[in-house]
Symmetry: C2
Subunit: 232 residues, 2 copies
């Protein structure tokens, strides 16, 4: 049985440069970068092995010398697009400010690469960068007395919030995603106010500009803070 290159292998150990034969014209990095550029511009649906190859000036099949298949390519793209985690927290501000900033930066990454949201649902392999982000979050909470599982749950909740809000914002042209979302919903609700009374009323209020990210972060961090304060 040949050495079956899996997504995990590809993500975690960069393949050794070959000793014999012609030098490769491509690399995992250049391929993943090309894929990211396509997905950034035209979305994940437009990501085709053909288009990636064209952008790199090679044939489609040349890519398969580096990447076993499309799913592995996307996994590489995700880890590269998410990027290295933000530098370890400045000690000032404590865990709360660290996590707040952490979640906001994650939100920014997802806003910059909306397709990464689609690509990271379901069972998948985690890359080094993704675990690096997680490491930063757990480090921020290490001294708080929370149990390990609580720390992980906190990170998951925060990351989830950043994801969901980024997801809402994605697909709206630009500028004021929250308002655009409200407008779209309002259009569907028009003429059906009696069926969705409180929802219509809530949407009718002026939507004091995009604050969904702030709001959720504050709630979650308040809850975590309450939990920590009860430990001492």
């Amino acid at each position: 049985m040949a050495t079956e290159t899996t997504a995990i292998t590809l993500l975690w150990e960069q393949p050794a440069a070959p000793k014999r034969g012609p030098k490769p014209t491509l690399s995992l990095d250049t391929i993943a970068t090309a894929g990211i550029e396509i997905a950034d511009a035209d979305g994940l649906a437009a990501l085709t092995m053909q288009r990636v190859a064209e952008r790199l000036g090679v044939t489609k099949m040349a890519l398969y010398r580096y990447v076993p298949g499309k799913v592995e390519l996307v996994a590489l793209m995700v880890d590269l697009a998410i990027g290295e985690p933000p530098p370890p927290a400045a000690v000032a501000g404590g865990w709360r400010q660290t996590l707040d900033s952490w979640a906001r930066q994650m939100y920014d990454r997802f806003r910059a690469h909306p397709w990464a949201l689609e690509a990271t649902v379901g069972a998948r392999a985690f890359g080094p960068n993704e675990l690096g982000w997680l490491e930063q979050a757990t480090a921020a909470l290490a001294g708080t007395g929370l149990a390990g599982s609580e720390i992980l749950d906190t990170a998951a909740t925060l990351a989830g919030h950043a994801r969901v809000i980024a997801q809402q914002a994605a697909g709206t042209p630009a500028g004021a995603p929250e308002q655009a979302m409200g407008d779209a919903m309002g259009a569907m609700l028009a003429g059906r106010e009696e069926r969705f009374p409180t929802l219509s009323a809530a949407l009718a209020e002026p939507a004091g500009k995009d604050q969904a990210l702030d709001f959720g972060l504050r709630c979650i961090l308040d809850g975590v803070e309450l939990l920590i304060s009860r430990l001492n």
Copy 2:
């Protein structure tokens, strides 16, 4: 210009039965149900117009008489699978218990139809059921004094948490998703403990069985409760 049937039209107004010509053998409901069964069994990737047609005993192209394309079919499937929102809250327990139960039921729905998670990323049309769920959540918070945008943000945060935890649980065989997740991460972390020290330590602790959903809900609701209490 012909009447271009869009996903929104399909979701919100059931098409009028034709007056002339042979009676349709299918309906939007039977088609969507067949699609749901396939996606439940084999995942969204296995959902093919061909397979849906086979299950219904018709040709692939027959489906296009009812549904303009695959994306619209998936939109119908999502709204049908999410289902009607839970009945309006029992008054006992107040908004907190209502929202807690609301989020848990949403989690259950997503667990029952994991493919719905993949299908509801990115810009999409909301169906009546989906807005019905949102209406229930806003109704629960209507009397609390929160602003409309805060109410919507709370609902979004809670729904997001339910989504994220369901997403983590999806893909793992069954039984103990949280532990399976930890095991998978642990395998990747093996031999790299010095690179991810706190994360490894957190994972090494015994992972008191699946509590991620509870934990996040408690944190979020604590935060909302704190916000409400400050209003009065």
